[in-house]
């Protein structure tokens, strides 16, 4: 190598490399910050519009949080059309998945029927639990009302067809849906109580 490994040289060169690299990183961070945020917002919006009836407001601007229990709350995106509420998208999550948190966007119309569900993020096993993102699994919830459709898998006496060989993931999905429904109930109760 061209440069001698003296203490001064080592400190100097390593600092130089670090300095150049951090400057480069700062630059790229600055350039990509806005697109990253935009991508996250676009994703949330896409998830919302795929799970609630047609709306014309901006749900992400009217977001509020509903507490389920101490230190545990879910985010709710209300959807309305012409000022009339048409449904709610509830960003639900559960820690009962096979590996890590499962986040599901659950849409209810105003009567409490599930209009659609969409997985936002998960880290379930590819090929097994990850099938929760397949239409063949999540289509079964469409139009179902949790007051008559039991949100547990058939093995546990419920109405959900579990994913083959992924009962834990299916249970997690059911749990996320139940939590979303609990939030929906607390919202509708609140508005009735106000009236």
């Amino acid at each position: 190598m061209a440069v001698e490994s003296s203490f001064k040289n080592m400190v100097l060169r390593l600092s130089e490399v670090c300095l150049v690299c951090s400057a480069l990183l700062g630059l790229v961070y600055g350039v990509t910050k806005a697109p990253i945020e935009a991508a996250a917002v676009a994703k949330t919006n896409a998830a919302i519009s795929s799970v609630v009836p047609a709306f014309d407001n901006t749900p992400s601007g009217e977001v509020f949080k509903v507490g389920l229990s101490e230190g545990d709350s879910l985010t709710v995106y209300p959807a309305s059309s012409g000022g009339v509420p048409v449904g709610f998208a509830v960003e639900s999550n559960t820690n009962r998945g096979f590996s890590g948190t499962v986040k599901v966007m659950v849409g209810f119309d105003i009567e409490g029927n599930i209009c659609g569900t969409s997985v936002i993020s998960h880290s379930e096993t590819p090929g097994l639990g990850a099938k929760m993102t397949d239409p063949s699994f999540y289509e079964q919830f469409k139009g179902k009302n949790p007051s008559s459709f039991k949100l547990t898998v058939k093995k546990d006496g419920g109405d959900i067809d579990a994913i083959t060989a992924a009962t834990i993931s299916s249970r997690a999905y059911a749990d996320a849906l139940s939590r979303a429904y609990a939030v929906f109930q607390s919202i509708t109760c609140k508005s009735e109580c106000n009236e």
């Binding site: 061209a2 440069v3 060169r13 490399v17 990183l25 790229v28 990509t32 590819p126 090929g127």
Partner: protein, 194 residues
């Protein structure tokens, strides 16, 4: 050696996956489908080319005793840049590979090429080496992913040609080892007398 020779060497004779057997963590972890394998390969190739170029540029000015920390800083920076860029412009790909992108930093291939090639060769040769090894890695990962996807999910590049599930084991971790082992055997058989 000619530029084409360097690229070909990385692709076949020094194939990182089938011959050098480096970078096994992303190889086994991300190849659940052809497209995932391809994405990981391209991501690694990007880091490999840039870090090779950069390291070959600065290698002469770096004292021997601190070269590894310097290389790691350079590689880590490019990986973070890649991560930010992917997050911003191809979020769907980032979601699939997200977990494995930071791991490129400790991928033996990248550091291995920096040590074995980039710090003793010119910028252009190093870039070719990065391209060749990167292509070799990409091809290997895409191939492993394709075989696993066909056997495990009955589809190829996301297009389903078969009803039902296929052999689930191939999508899970054990399948990665099986497929890697068989492909390695075939690859060595085919290229053994080259």
């Amino acid at each position: 050696m000619s530029k084409g020779g360097i690229i070909l060497k990385g692709l076949v004779k020094d194939n990182p996956t089938f011959v050098l057997v480096l970078g096994m963590c992303p190889t086994l972890g991300t190849t659940t489908s052809a497209i995932n394998g391809f994405g990981m390969g391209v991501a690694t190739m990007f880091v490999l080319i840039l870090s090779n170029i950069f390291i070959s540029l600065v290698a002469g000015g770096i004292p021997d005793k601190v070269r590894i920390p310097c290389y790691i800083v350079i590689i880590a920076s490019f990986v973070t840049i890649l991560q930010l860029v992917m997050q911003a412009f191809v979020p769907s790909m980032y979601e699939v590979l997200g977990l494995f992108i930071p791991l490129i930093v400790v991928n033996c291939i990248v550091l291995g090429r920096a040590e074995a090639f980039a710090n003793k060769n010119g910028v252009l040769d190093s870039a070719c080496d990065g391209l060749g090894v990167g292509l070799g890695f990409t091809c290997a990962l895409t191939l492993i992913g394709l075989v696993r996807e066909i056997l495990g999910s009955g589809s190829a590049f996301g297009f389903k040609f078969m009803e039902g599930d296929g052999i689930l084991a191939f999508v899970l971790a054990p399948g990665a080892f099986f497929v890697l082992a068989y492909l390695m055997v075939i690859f060595r058989k085919l290229t053994g007398n080259l």
